[in-house]
């Protein structure tokens, strides 16, 4: 829950950001072009120094959704215990957002995980490799068009025997 003063100040700075609230949580929807500035301002001016999480939601089958991917940044202020959820939307083809590793070092592995499982590119990320899946994997399995049982990758893994290794 962010303080009303914080929300008012943010509204004055970024008129195109829309705010909503649900179960006591403040959520801001930011246009894709200004996501980096908003996060930077939140960190530097409003002391949201803890990046709790970076994650993504694929809205492919979601009722009434206009955009494909929603990126979610959860921020917290360790002094005042304020929290804010910042969301932005990106679309196919080539969904990209600027990386926030420069602001929070903790974003490094979180963004790698989003790239791995959703295929969203983070521009300016120092080391954007797959993190939980093998390098030779081609799909992004948390996308809604990827089947639960996989596409047979598991059965076609190369087998290395002791003699061949």
């Amino acid at each position: 829950m962010a303080e009303p003063a914080t929300i008012a100040a943010l509204k004055a700075l970024f008129p195109d950001v829309s705010f909503s609230e649900f179960r006591g949580q403040t959520r801001a929807v930011v246009p894709r072009r200004s996501i980096y500035q908003v996060l930077q301002t939140l960190k530097d001016r409003f002391a949201f120094d803890l990046l709790v999480d970076v994650t993504c939601v694929d809205y492919l089958h979601y009722r009434g959704a206009k955009d494909r991917f929603g990126l979610v940044y959860l921020l917290a202020n360790t002094q005042t215990n304020e929290r804010i959820i910042v969301r932005t939307f990106v679309n196919d083809p080539e969904p990209t957002v600027p990386s926030v590793v420069g602001l929070w070092e903790g974003a490094n592995w979180l963004e790698r995980e989003v790239w791995d499982l959703f295929g969203i590119r983070f521009e300016g990320h120092p080391d954007l490799r797959r993190i939980v899946l093998p390098e030779e994997f081609t799909a992004h399995p948390l996308r809604k068009d990827y089947p639960l049982q996989g596409r047979g990758e598991r059965h076609n893994f190369p087998v290395i025997t002791r003699a061949k290794s």
């Binding site: 649900f22 179960r23 949580q25 959520r27 120094d49 803890l50 990046l51 709790v52 999480d53 994650t55 939601v57 694929d58 979601y62 009722r63 009434g64 979610v72 959860l74 360790t78 215990n81 929290r83 959820i85 929070w104 070092e105 903790g106 974003a107 490094n108 592995w109 979180l110 995980e113 499982l117 797959r130 993190i131 939980v132 899946l133 093998p134 399995p141 948390l142 990827y146 639960l148």
Partner: protein
């Protein structure tokens, strides 16, 4: 052992030709990684120049499963995330679901959830500190720590019938109410643990080998901890005072008198001390909760339409029968708003949160788990640079990496 400044090692790694550097594979199968993690270490003699963790060996798509299992079924998967404290994961998951649905559970259920979550914290910290001792050569401490852990598992068995993968919580309540026998077991445990803790601390607190191997090793500063999204005992050992039980009280943590344990040093020894102190604070919470345990129902009423009614109600009342069928039929069930919610708890390793997206059906549209272990392991290369190879195991075990949680 004197600390080598990290910056000088960095220059060595980047400015001079690196032909003499060794590359060593540590894991994926190695007793000191505890679970399946691979570390690629770049060594200059015995000194670690760089470390590259390689994770994903236990990735089994928990978040994808969360989009196909309903809110009560998925609790079995959360058991398998941090298997050292499955109860804490159960509580975190169902708190998130209840936040999405807008349900408040009765006081008795909240107290019981606090008790099991704190017992899980004690068991997790015991295992972690036992592993720190084991990896630095103190095997006796390991045996001392596993004895109370066994008692905790006996309590869990008395509460829900399972020792390891508990799945104790349900949407709007618990699987079973606590029996008088289980309460008596918790009381006995609370009476007996302080003596065991004194014995344990006498073994390790002043043990010269242990202190020399952990003090000044893997130092983390407060600024680095916040910047790298570290939470839980590792951040508190570096001077961060954040504890969600105090800062954003959930369940009934507001009712209890306990302290947040912090240290300034940020090294492996401080992490050990913070965990030991947190065990004592958790014990205080359990003692207060079990003595003030309210009576009354443990589940929300059947009018909330989330919990299966008792069999007597199903067979003798029409409301019970209707609500039983509504919950059992696949096209009915919970009333879930098309909304998104984030709920966080203070799990033993740090902030364990779930980001849930509801789409009106019984299953989550997206069930994101914010795993504390993932961010803790991301810290590992930063902590270990410049230290000796033998310090790798000390740092690794003090971070308490649970690979099942970080890979999911």
């Amino acid at each position: 052992m004197p600390l080598t400044p990290v910056s000088s090692t960095r220059n060595l790694a980047h400015d001079e030709p690196q032909a003499y550097l060794w590359t060593m594979n540590f894991g994926p199968q190695h007793p000191a990684t505890h679970t399946t993690i691979r570390l690629v270490l770049k060594l200059d003699g015995e000194r670690v120049v760089d470390a590259m963790p390689d994770i994903g060996y236990l990735h089994s798509g928990f978040e994808k499963l969360g989009e196909h299992l309903d809110f009560n079924q998925y609790v079995t998967v959360t058991d398998r995330m941090n298997y050292c404290s499955p109860m804490a994961n159960n509580v975190a998951w169902h708190l998130a679901v209840e936040k999405l649905l807008g349900i408040e559970v009765p006081p008795r259920c909240q107290y019981l959830r606090v008790i099991v979550a704190e017992l899980a914290r004690i068991s997790d910290h015991l295992v972690c500190n036992a592993a720190v001792g084991l990896d630095t050569g103190a095997f006796t401490f390991f045996v001392y720590a596993f004895n109370p852990r066994e008692q905790i598992y006996d309590i869990f068995e008395a509460l829900c019938g399972a020792r390891f993968t508990n799945s104790y919580t349900r949407v709007g309540g618990l699987m079973y109410d606590a029996t008088p026998k289980a309460i008596e077991m918790i009381r006995e445990f609370v009476r007996g643990l302080p003596k065991a803790l004194v014995d344990m601390r006498r073994l390790l607190d002043g043990n010269r080998i242990f202190v020399e191997r952990t003090r000044g090793i893997g130092v983390l500063t407060r600024e680095e901890a916040v910047n790298r999204s570290i939470t839980g005992p590792i951040a508190r050992a570096a001077g961060v005072t954040r504890d969600l039980r105090k800062d954003e009280p959930y369940l009934t943590y507001r009712d209890f008198d306990f302290d947040v344990c912090c240290a300034q040093e940020g090294d492996c020894y401080a992490r050990y001390l913070v965990r030991m102190a947190e065990i004592e604070e958790s014990l205080k919470i359990v003692r207060q909760a079990v003595e003030n345990l309210p009576s009354g129902p443990v589940n929300v009423g059947i009018d909330q339409r989330v919990i299966l009614p008792e069999r007597r109600q199903v067979y003798s009342t029409i409301e019970g029968l209707i609500s039983h069928f509504e919950l059992s039929m696949s096209n009915r069930g919970f009333v879930v708003p098309c909304e998104e919610v984030y709920s966080a708890t203070e799990a033993p390793n740090g902030e364990l949160g779930f980001y849930l997206v509801g789409d009106g059906t019984n299953t989550a549209y997206r069930a994101r788990c914010r795993p504390p272990s993932l961010l803790n392991l991301a810290l590992f290369p930063h902590l270990v640079r410049g230290h000796a190879l033998s310090d790798v195991v000390a740092v690794m075990s003090s971070l308490n990496i649970i690979a099942a949680e970080l890979d999911r």
